[in-house]
Symmetry: C2
């Protein structure tokens, strides 16, 4: 029997219990019961753990020593590793939290929601080693400074690399964050996240949770927590410092400001982008300075931000808006020389409701595409224009290409980043029925996705 690379003792346990990889099983440990699908051991995995994929889509590692019994519920099925997300899980799920460090003394309370990514990986993902890094004990062991900042209450929402995060996960995270805000137990919510798409998720939370009364801070790491060069520790400390001390609420991303380990930048959730594959200071605010810099326990707020939309931290939920739905059928197309205009026709045929173009320069596209764009718009698809330049804003009135696009009905999005534009279109279409309302919402500043001209031009 193939045991997926597990070591002899586990092999024997599997044989004795008449279970195999892919089976749904119930595992009884000394103090808990787990139900899930038995997964193969993956490279780098710890020898003494088996890996169970829970109904909620995340994997846990269970120590062999603790296992009392394994019982098969369902034989392996062909589709065993396809799991849909259970939206009700937030309410029903009991997470593994070693509660002993939570809510002691006079420190503020913070909720730490883990969604996966490098920050929570000690060993390879599919082994389930992820959870270990997120128990309060583990956190306090590895980042002792946190104990001095806040009482951290950790929960696992997902364990996904962020390239696997989808719009339905944004809904899930938004609901969980909203629930924890509504519990009134916390001074702030920290969401640990893989860095690859953290800026998409921060934009999603910015629209799905407007005017939260407390700060919601996403945080990630470019190097995993068990590496000596890891940025996880400082990023988490910075995120927690900001979440407890900031006087304003909103959705932010906290990451290294430079490659030296001393300053953390807190970026506005809709204005941030991962601009480097590996550097610790990979995240940049686009067209503005970071909202805040955290230097040890001091928070410096940028003085650029007098005009932006923020509310003060508060105890009331009165102004909070929770609209967690996202419509998947939006495409982001980057234009380039030789672009196949029939891609636009494909979007029509495949039922897309909107296209976000990353045009060149001020928001331009080859004139050969005009007839395809016209046809898509005639078919009811909304077409929005952003720029692949990343910095700066679209301006479709300067050149005749732009004016032609405006005449066709293309809607320019000024200095909204293309990533934020994609997320916002998915959110608008997920929450509004009328096209005119979607267009109005897309071009209205909700969460600082548009900024006034601040940078020197």
């Amino acid at each position: 029997m193939y045991t997926g690379g597990y070591h002899k003792k586990l092999e024997e346990l599997f044989k004795r219990s008449n279970v195999k990889l892919g089976d749904s099983v119930i595992i009884q440990t000394s103090n808990e019961t787990h139900t899930g699908i038995l997964l193969p051991r993956y490279e780098y995995a710890d020898d003494n753990h088996l890996v169970l994929k829970l109904k909620n889509g995340y994997n846990i590692g269970i120590n062999l020593r603790k296992i009392k019994s394994i019982k098969k519920i369902v034989e392996k099925a062909g589709t065993s590793d396809k799991h849909s997300i259970d939206y009700n899980y937030v309410d029903n799920f009991s997470f593994e939290s070693t509660d002993q460090n939570f809510s002691k003394g006079d420190l503020p309370n913070l909720s730490l929601l883990s969604t996966g990514g490098t920050i929570s990986s000690k060993i390879d993902y599919r082994t389930g080693g992820v959870m270990a890094a997120l128990t309060a004990k583990e956190l306090n062991d590895s980042i002792p400074e946190l104990v001095k900042i806040a009482n951290i209450d950790p929960e696992v929402v997902l364990t996904e690399y962020s390239e696997n995060i989808k719009p339905e996960h944004w809904s899930l995270i938004a609901k969980k964050v909203a629930n924890n805000i509504l519990s009134s137990k916390y001074e702030g919510i920290i969401v640990s996240h893989g860095t690859d798409t953290m800026h998409y998720t921060s934009a999603a939370l910015s629209f799905a949770l407007q005017n939260p009364p407390i700060p919601v801070v996403l945080v990630g790491a470019q190097r995993s927590s068990d590496r000596p060069s890891s940025d996880a520790s400082l990023n988490l400390i910075g995120a927690c410092t900001f979440a407890t001390k900031s006087k304003v609420s909103g959705v932010f991303v906290a990451m290294h400001y430079s490659i030296s380990d001393d300053v953390i930048a807190c970026h506005i959730g809709t204005r941030v982008r991962k601009n480097h594959t590996s550097r610790r200071d990979a995240f940049h605010s686009i067209d503005v300075s970071p909202f805040s810099l955290v230097k040890k326990d001091q928070i410096e707020i940028s003085n650029q931000y007098t005009d932006l939309i923020f509310q003060q931290r508060s105890k009331s939920f009165e102004r909070m808006i929770v609209r967690p739905n996202f419509e998947n059928k939006v495409s982001l197309l980057k234009f380039y020389p030789g672009f196949d205009c029939r891609m636009i026709d494909y979007c029509v045929k495949s039922g897309q409701k909107a296209i976000i173009f990353e045009g060149t320069g001020l928001g331009h596209i080859n004139k050969g595409c005009f007839s395809h764009i016209k046809s898509a718009i005639d078919n009811g698809i909304l077409i929005f224009m952003t720029s692949q330049c990343i910095w700066g804003r679209t301006a479709l009135t300067v050149y005749d290409t732009g004016r032609d696009l405006l005449n066709l009905g293309v809607i320019p999005l000024s200095n909204m980043t293309s990533e934020t534009a994609l997320v916002k279109a998915m959110w608008c279409l997920g929450n509004l029925k009328e096209v005119k309302d979607v267009v109005k919402m897309m071009t209205t500043n909700i969460a600082n996705e548009f900024t006034k001209r601040i940078t020197v031009d």
Copy 2:
């Protein structure tokens, strides 16, 4: 009769000559004969010129005073504004060059090839006003400093906004540049170009013209030449200074280094990107410093570049390789949360030969796409991976998502920018028959599209 906004004298001339907008006509002026299609006057146009679209795809303005006769050849057809490019034109075309300033005294000779774009627009494009800015007289009138640097020999190759530049235009420009190099008349070639896709064209020329014996410098402007804030003048001066004084050859892009009007950066053609929609310093070298800074008549070469591929300026063509073909059937797809994986199937169906992915982070894509990627690769499509981060390099061995992609046959492209990767794939497929040769060429450093780790990490 609708005369497209032309003024009374021209209206009368049209009427008298029995021609109307859209007709193919022959126009006899005092010293020349022009054949083309009569275009409408566009906003901002000069009152005393009519606009003719030539067979070669570009528009000229002809002064009413000079016109002796207009004769209709072909009545307006429904498809009158669709023109294919005539590849033979380079050899047959006689451009409008007022030669009086060329090759005087001891100054070096430079060829200035205009392809269009803001740098050569004085007034709106479709009026043909473009050419006027490019006669030697006009150049010398508007940028008197140029007379002291070189004898400039201007030619019009195209008049296109750069969003309309296609791979076939790259071939055309490459051939024209090669011809002018082979004429041995010049110390350098300047290519003026719209900024929107100038970095795509500079990459294209870097592959199509390897080891040119003299510098080939692309130059553009973010503000048109007739605006007081125009950067055209300083950019051209910087480009010409570099082209005459640089000891190395190669393909470069010369643009403002900062927003102040004193330093021009010369970027390596494969390592540059337009990163801002409107700023004068919109172009940045990616992962490296600019190759050179031009400060007045001084050239500073970056000391980062000891390892890069360059050859010294020479009088011999021995090492020059001219391979000007490009294959259009390459798609650039940016991955994002909610990405429709069937887009990959569409690329297979539409006959694409390669896909360049802009993955997240180190080069990742949602696991839901794996089966589509496998199917595309099974169908013979080459799939290459770059990063949407822009800075940094792909690394597919770090996480299991990357390892899975490698196992599927995805080929990572390290720190080649996605734009350069697109151009290089088009070029490889345009010039090589065997797939294995394409893969080998794609992963071999030809024109500094890969760099060693130079920046601090």
